[in-house]
Subunit: 267 residues, 2 copies
C-alpha cells in the first residue's frame, strides 16, 4: 500500500504525478492519492472579494481563518475545481478515479475548533465561528471498498467534525493518518520544493536522509509548511509506516523518483 | 429502490428534502439523491465576472454554453458548494452520505458535443470548445456498492465523456437514466414549482395525473425546464420505472407527499 500526498501550493504541477501514478497502478500497486488546493483557494478567495486571512495561534501554529463564507470557498476550490481536475486527468488516461472529500463517508473525522486564540498587535484575541479542526480518526472503510473494486480514491479536505460539520483540516496530517490507517508501507509527500532544505534559497542544501528517531532534531530547519510536513511524517512513522519521503512534484516521475530515494527520506 | 432528484434553481430549499429522506432512510428504504445547482452556478459565474450564456440550438433546445472556464465554475458550484452542503446536511443528521459527481467512477457517461450550432440574430453560428454532453450510459457499480454498505449516494453533474473529460449534462436526464439503471420503482423530481401547471401563473392549475402513454400530449403545456422534466420522465418510464412524480421541494415532507400522490403523477 502506497499513500501519495500532493500539495496545492501555487506552482505545484499535477500532471507529472498523474502520469507517474498511472504507470505505477498499471504495474499492480495499490495506492491512494490525497491532494491540496491552498493556492487555488487563495486565488478564488481574492476573486470573490474575500481575501484569505492567515492567523497565528498563541501556540505558534499558522492556519487559515475559516468562517462560513471561507469554508464554502475552500470547498469550491478543493472539492470542485482541484479534485475534479485530478479525477478528470486520471479518467483521460483510462484510470477509474473517484474523488471524495473527508466529509464524504466521514473518511476524515475530528474535533472542530470553533474558536481560536490569536496574538494580534501583541494582544490576545479570540476569533469565533471558525470551521477548522484536526483529523483524529480515519474511517477507511469506503477507501478500502473502492480499492478492492479497482477504483483509485482521490481524497482532499475538508473533514467532518464529530457533529457532521465540514471543517478545514491540514491535508498533510490527514494523509499521514490515512497512511497509518491503511497500513501503508510508504508515504510520499510531494510539493513545489525538493524536500527539506538546510537553506531555503539553496536547492543543493537538501537533507537527503533523516532517521525516524531524529525528526525532532531537524525541526528547526523547517519553515512554514515544511514544519507541518515533518510533523505529518512523524505521525505516519509512529502509525507504522516504514518510510516517508518528501519530494518535488515538478520533476518527471515524481513518485518513482521519491521511492528510488530522491528527496528527503525519513525512515 | 427510490431515486429522488432535487433541482438547483434559485428558491429551491434543500432542508425539507434532507429531513424527509432521513426519515425515509431510517424506515429502511433504499434510495439515491441527485441534485442540481444551476442557480448557484449562475450566481458564482456573475461574481467571477463570467456571466452565464444560454444558447438555443437550431433544434430548439436551450443549454448553458460551457467553455473550459464555465466548466470549472460549474464544477465549483455543483461538486464544491452544493454537493458538500447536501452531504453536510445529512452528516449533521447522522446519515452517512457520500457525494460524487458523474465523472467519479464514470457513473454518468456520454458523448461530448464539442460544438453547437445556434441561431443568433437569424443567422446560423457554430460555437466550438463546448463541454456539454448527454448521459447515454450509467455505470451504477459504485452506487450499488455504496448502497450495499449503508452509505447514501448524493450525485450531481458533471458526467464523463467517453474520452474521460468532464462534461456539463442535464441533471434530470442523468437522474432518469440512473433510476432506470437501478431498476427503481419510483422516481421523484422536486423543484421550485408544484408540478406541471396548465397556467404557469396559477398554482391551482396543476395537472395531477398523466398516463405514461400520454406524455407527448402534455408536452405543449411544458415550458423551459419543465420540458426537460417530462422528457426525463419518459426516459425513466421507458426504462422500467413504474411511477414518476413531479413535486415541490418547498413544502414539508416533499418526498413523502409526492409518493402519497401530491404533484403531477405520471404512470
Amino acid at each position: 500500500m502506497l499513500v501519495v500526498k500532493i500539495g496545492g501550493g501555487s506552482g505545484t504541477r499535477i500532471e507529472p504525478t498523474v502520469a507517474d501514478l498511472t504507470d505505477i497502478l498499471r504495474a499492480g500497486r495499490r495506492l491512494v492519492l490525497v491532494h491540496g488546493a491552498s493556492g487555488e483557494t487563495n486565488v478564488l478567495a481574492e476573486k470573490l472579494g474575500k481575501p484569505p486571512r492567515f492567523v497565528t495561534s498563541v501556540s505558534g501554529i499558522e492556519s487559515r481563518y475559516t468562517d462560513r463564507e471561507t469554508l464554502e470557498i475552500f470547498e469550491m476550490a478543493y472539492c470542485g475545481k482541484a479534485n475534479k481536475a485530478v479525477v478528470e486527468a486520471f479518467q483521460k488516461r483510462g484510470v477509474n478515479a473517484v474523488g471524495l472529500s473527508g466529509l464524504d463517508g466521514r473518511i476524515f473525522e475530528g474535533r472542530r475548533k470553533e474558536s481560536i486564540t490569536i496574538l494580534e498587535g501583541g494582544k490576545r484575541k479570540v476569533l469565533r465561528g471558525d470551521y477548522t479542526g484536526k483529523v483524529e480518526r480515519v474511517n477507511a472503510g469506503i477507501v478500502t471498498l473502492l480499492l478492492d473494486h479497482g477504483y483509485l480514491p482521490v481524497l482532499c479536505p475538508p473533514a467532518a467534525s464529530y457533529e457532521g460539520e465540514a471543517v478545514n483540516v491540514d491535508g498533510d496530517t490527514a494523509a499521514a493518518e490515512l497512511a497509518a490507517a491503511l497500513k501503508a508501507e510508504e508515504f510520499v509527500m510531494l510539493s513545489n520544493v525538493p524536500g527539506l532544505l538546510r537553506d531555503l534559497n539553496d536547492p543543493n542544501s537538501l537533507v537527503a536522509r533523516i532517521p525516524a528517531k531524529a525528526i525532532d532534531d531537524f525541526m528547526p530547519l523547517a519553515h512554514g509548511r515544511m514544519k507541518r510536513k515533518l510533523m505529518a511524517a512523524a505521525i505516519a512513522l509512529q502509525g507504522g509506516v516504514r518510510r516517508v519521503i518528501l519530494g518535488s512534484a515538478n520533476i518527471e516521475r515524481p513518485v518513482t523518483s521519491s521511492l528510488a530515494g530522491q528527496g528527503t527520506v525519513i525512515q
